[in-house]
Symmetry: C2
Subunit: 277 residues, 2 copies
Amino acid sequence: MTLGIIGLGLMGGSLGMDLRQLPFVNEVIGHDHNASHCDTALELGLVDRVVDFDTVLQCDTIFLSVPVDGIMSILQQMPGRINADATVIDLGSTKARIVESIPESIRHNVIAAHPMTGTENFGPQAAVSGLYRDKVVVLCDMADSGKPQQETAVRLFSGLHMRLHYMRAHDHDRHAAFISHMPHAISYSLANTVLNQEDKYNILALAAGGFRSMSRLAKSSPNMWEDIFRQNKEHLLEAISLFENELDAMKKAIKEEAWQEVHDRLETGKKLHEILL
Amino acid sequence: MTLGIIGLGLMGGSLGMDLRQLPFVNEVIGHDHNASHCDTALELGLVDRVVDFDTVLQCDTIFLSVPVDGIMSILQQMPGRINADATVIDLGSTKARIVESIPESIRHNVIAAHPMTGTENFGPQAAVSGLYRDKVVVLCDMADSGKPQQETAVRLFSGLHMRLHYMRAHDHDRHAAFISHMPHAISYSLANTVLNQEDKYNILALAAGGFRSMSRLAKSSPNMWEDIFRQNKEHLLEAISLFENELDAMKKAIKEEAWQEVHDRLETGKKLHEILL
């Protein structure tokens, strides 16, 4: 099978690196509208070769690893240009709007997937082998995809040693808001809070592991996250509001010196790590 | 010099482990009101021996590595019981209230220090060698400590390869609220937000590195953090309020689809990592 990857950043580049090792993959072909990404991907051996947009659409299987808005735009251009039995796997971080946007004539070709992995780095130079190994991939609304396409997707993600979860696109988006999108909004806001302090240099001189851990996500790509926030707006707003309620209740308890309540809130929060596998 | 460590948890235990290696340290003596901590500390070789409270007060230098309320209580018991030229180094996470509480007769004996290190684990079994190496230690209101005590503290922290910062206790507490205490309040509140969701198991099944990084601090000891929140109440409330304003502004921009503003907020947050050394 020939594989095409559209978008040779962290996700697409790391994918190419490991898919090239699979015995049933003949060739991994890349495409990216950014010429320097193409050069870097070739230099680092993330793909076998780089081709134009029309050529990458001829692959047996095509991964879409560009920001969500880009995925929706590419899907609109696919009818009549991909092979009738092609498998198109979108790796977007939000799923409901992507799934709704798939043109009816290629609905059976498309697999809506979200691999729950990544790092705060981006671009092809950030690609690492093993990024997908042992991680969860969420497959959304799979019954709407064709049988051969389902089989191809399962074969490829299993080849990457991923753990497959099946979910409705709407549920995925709500879960992702809590587990990923809202925490990113927090991390950026925490960074801004400290940066707005007059003595930020003194404050940051004291930064230990805890602060680094909480602010790490604010290293991520603003373009990508603006896009995700836009796509998952309603769920994200709900998650932020619920978090604000929690933090505000903690603040109120501290203000009123209700130390038993503060303690209880810390104890219940700590229980997270009994079920976080 | 003989060193005493009161409190054989993560901080005291890790300290004993590395201080025992220093050539000018003859013996490291431990004390903890928790008998099982004493047993574990001896088994793991964190201290040379364990003694009662009166005996540990006879050491040349005494580290106080218990929660802040405990430090204040111990300081009240020291006048007349420690050697006239003893050095007492408190390692509490908040400083202003500790410094204010030092009895006048032993003010010159006491060094108010805060090593900016730790892990989310606690107890002597969590002790690790190298916990202090290359980390910042904040030394507060040093001019109020005696000259010999200042020299001893510098010698010991330098022996641990720490980076020394000098600061007023009040400034330390405000900085620590932003860099450490408020981020802990966020992490626990994030954990509670997810745990309050009906489908928390489904959500947590998707947890990747980002969420783990943001919720890691919520593994910390509730006893210790209740104590710190109480000691640094005013600065913590200020820091939480400023963070809430930031997050709320982000939420408002998302709600109003002011995407350029969202993007700008992400871009400015990202700049943190240009100055976070």
